[in-house]
Symmetry: C2
Subunit: 168 residues, 2 copies
């Protein structure tokens, strides 16, 4: 398959998975995901992203209690918490765009390894408490939690607006 067809397939087949098998992704697999995130583009190459990998059951449970996505977090054997480091920030809008690019790189690299993930955002409502649970400095602002594991659910369909409606 040509590279462009392959990446379009990867992009389109990626789905949010909310229920995971108990098998934990290996350290090597997690490292490749972080590596993909690390190589995202950012304005002035400021790389404002930071990562906290959580696998400890008690910590996961404490985080799960902070969000409506409780079940997803409990089910996922790994969480990758993504932060914006304010000390590295140069433009709030551009930093957020860069972190979004970083997250997408990680989601695609999850998909490419036959693993599954879910980009969780509701927990941002309790971002200060997440920092307290993880004992992180205030300079790191929670942007997303990526639940990670092997899917234990059926593949769902997803839809997008037709391109015609997106062209202005």
């Amino acid at each position: 398959m040509r590279k462009i067809e392959l990446i379009l397939k990867i992009i389109k087949e990626r789905r949010s998975v909310r229920k995971y098998a108990s098998k934990r992704p290996s350290k090597a697999q997690i490292k490749k995901i972080l590596e993909a995130g690390r190589w995202a583009p950012s304005g002035l190459n400021n790389q404002p992203w930071r990562f906290k990998v959580v696998t400890d059951s008690l910590l996961k449970e404490e985080l799960a209690r902070l969000t409506v996505d409780f079940e997803i977090i409990i089910s996922a054997p790994v969480l990758i918490c993504v932060f914006l480091n304010k000390k590295d920030s140069y433009s709030h809008v551009k930093d957020l765009l860069a972190v979004g690019a970083c997250i997408q790189n990680m989601l695609l690299s999850i998909q490419c390894q036959g693993l599954s993930g879910c980009w969780l955002g509701e927990i941002l409502n309790k971002k200060e408490k997440v920092n307290a649970v993880l004992r992180l400095k205030k300079e790191n602002e929670l942007m997303a939690v990526i639940a990670l594991g092997s899917s234990d659910e059926k593949i769902c369909k997803s839809t997008r607006k037709p391109l015609k409606k997106l062209l202005i």
Copy 2:
């Protein structure tokens, strides 16, 4: 090559290109780039992104005058202007992250087609004027301009912080 090794290679080899050959990417190539953007994930699947493709030389020149990236815009045969549609917005932070994911999908699909691009952000300082030049409604807020074409420059190296410094 395994899928994960391939995507890591694509992610790491992508570079910002600032000088382009005159040959214009085909409509089919541009459509595949937009297709990649369209399938990005977003909170509540709200898909807040909008696209304006600019190829007209006079319009390009008007946009070029709004930024220090004048030369890049003049050189690029195609511009993909990316907007956040405020009517589709549900959370400013999550919308920006989603648009960042959308932009990264497009940059990767540019790379996969042997084309080159540059994510331009300085022009956001004149985002209202960009809307005026392109005659777009205020509900569309400029997020980025992607310069697009075939590279006419040597490949530069790039660097990233070591993973150790990103893990908190």
